[in-house]
């Protein structure tokens, strides 16, 4: 098992294995997406208070979860880069950044569109929205810094440090709705004990969340493969392709 993992760390192996996984993951993603959309848009009943507008939740919440998850993945890669200088970790970190930024952007905009009918305003400067916005800036900072440094291995170390320093923002975002009185809804799914959301809505939500997870891996693999080709264009294994 460990040997397989170790082999995965080598670029040519990763490239090949990723190539084989991609078709499977694509199908799994499409299946989960279809199930989630069906459950969320058609099966689930309208909400008692919010009517039909709550259905935005099925993209907004998974997007927000992914925005946090991907940043944590990047921070872990950052630690790996600093301690072991593993090439694959560098590729995963920089490939994850645009995906994470996209999800953060999606979470912010869908949240805005949900907030307008619910709270009467597109934006409010409460703790969760503000810290999510800061997360977007952190992602953009990482992408910007990586672009600014020419030598990509040095650039990887720089963004690794930045990712690690910024990771304090993640618990702030997550707990912000508990620490501050906030307009944003409190935790309903990750509460210990029974979550206070009905199963007919929870199931599509979890399906969509899982679909987004699979999608992240899928998009990541595509990006990593492209990035690997670009970085290793002068090496033997690329020529042998």
């Amino acid at each position: 098992m460990f040997l397989w993992f170790h082999k995965l760390g080598s670029p040519p192996h990763f490239y090949r294995i990723a190539g084989r996984w991609i078709p499977w993951l694509t199908w799994i993603f499409l299946l989960l997406l279809a199930a989630g959309l069906y459950g969320g848009l058609i099966e689930a009943p309208p909400d008692y208070q919010q009517g039909e507008s709550y259905r935005i939740m099925f993209v907004h919440v998974p997007a927000a979860w992914m925005s946090l998850f991907i940043y944590v993945v990047m921070a872990v890669c950052g630690a790996i880069i600093i301690i072991w200088r593993m090439k694959l970790a560098e590729v995963v970190l920089i490939s994850s950044a645009p995906i994470g930024a996209s999800f953060t952007f999606l979470a912010l905009v869908t949240g805005s569109l949900w907030g307008k009918p619910m709270w009467g305003t597109y934006w409010v400067w409460d703790a969760r929205l503000t810290s999510e916005l800061i997360l977007l800036f952190l992602y953009l900072g990482i992408i910007g810094l990586h672009n600014a440094i020419d030598d990509k291995r040095t650039a990887a170390r720089a963004v690794a440090i930045l990712a690690l320093v910024g990771v304090v923002n993640i618990p702030i975002i997550h707990y912000s709705v508990e620490w501050w009185h906030s307009l944003h809804q409190g935790p309903t799914v990750t509460k210990f004990g029974k979550p206070s959301i009905h199963w007919s809505m929870l199931l599509p939500l979890l399906l969509m969340a899982l679909a987004f997870q699979v999608y992240y891996v899928l998009a990541l693999l595509h990006r990593c493969r492209a990035e690997l080709l670009r970085r290793e264009r002068n090496s033997k294994w690329v020529e042998e392709l």
């Binding site: 503000t130 800036f137 810094l145 720089a158 320093v165 923002n169």
Partner: protein, 228 residues
């Protein structure tokens, strides 16, 4: 004769050197302070000098100006050392770089943060901030400006080798500064309205301890990367 310095002596040496350099370049270091005062005076000019409005937003104005002045002054932490090669010497020394970094950041704070502390009461008066809030304002500046120097040092260390480093520096450092801004301004506003600011003050203290213990390491790692 052995020239081996103890860690403490190295710290003091670097601190004194930076302070001396700052003293000799007084004009360069006066600029962030001047910027601070100028930015604050812009607000009454732009918003109309209505006393109630100014008094209400005074904490926010002062802190945004402090943030911008801190960012402006960050470049001076490592740039001149980078340019003349002393940064490499610091990295090559036998002492842990994180401690030496702490010395440089302390010098930076003494030169750029403390003047803000001295100028703030006058500016608070000019903006009409209620008297009860001023001690809290000074406390937030006392706690907050070292945090700005410490976190800013990480950003400078990451970008000191880049050509357009200054612009990227702002993009990197501002998101990290935002929590300090939020708590400091909120503490002062609470005090101005007569409420208890201690929760926010404790958060600032926590940030200060956190950044003092962790940021020198991050800065050292970033410097090693930048100089390589």
């Amino acid at each position: 004769m052995s020239h081996r310095l103890s860690l403490c002596q190295a710290f003091v040496f670097l601190l004194r050197r930076d302070l001396l350099l700052a003293l000799r370049n007084r004009a360069e270091y006066a600029m962030p302070l001047l910027f601070f005062v100028l930015v604050i005076t812009l607000f009454p000019l732009a918003l109309g000098a209505s006393p109630e409005l100014l008094a209400r937003i005074a904490p926010g104005i002062i802190w945004v100006a402090a943030l911008l002045a801190a960012m402006l002054s960050l470049d001076s932490i490592f740039r001149s050392d980078f340019d003349d090669g002393s940064l490499e010497q610091i990295l090559l020394s036998a002492h842990p770089v994180a401690v030496l970094v702490l010395a440089k950041v302390t010098a930076h704070w003494l030169v750029t943060g403390v003047p803000l502390l001295l100028a703030a009461p006058l500016l608070a008066e000019m903006l009409g901030m209620p008297g009860e809030a001023q001690p809290v304002l000074l406390l937030t500046i006392l706690l907050g400006t070292p945090i700005l120097s410490l976190i800013g040092a990480i950003g400078v260390a990451l970008t000191v080798g880049l050509r357009k480093g200054g612009i990227i520096l702002s993009l990197l450092v501002l998101p990290l500064y935002v929590p300090v801004l939020i708590f400091a301004a909120s503490a002062t506003e609470n005090a101005a309205a007569g409420f208890d600011p201690s929760a926010q003050i404790y958060m600032l203290m926590a940030f200060l301890f956190l950044s003092t213990s962790l940021s020198p390491w991050a800065t050292a790692a970033a410097l090693r990367m930048s100089v390589s």
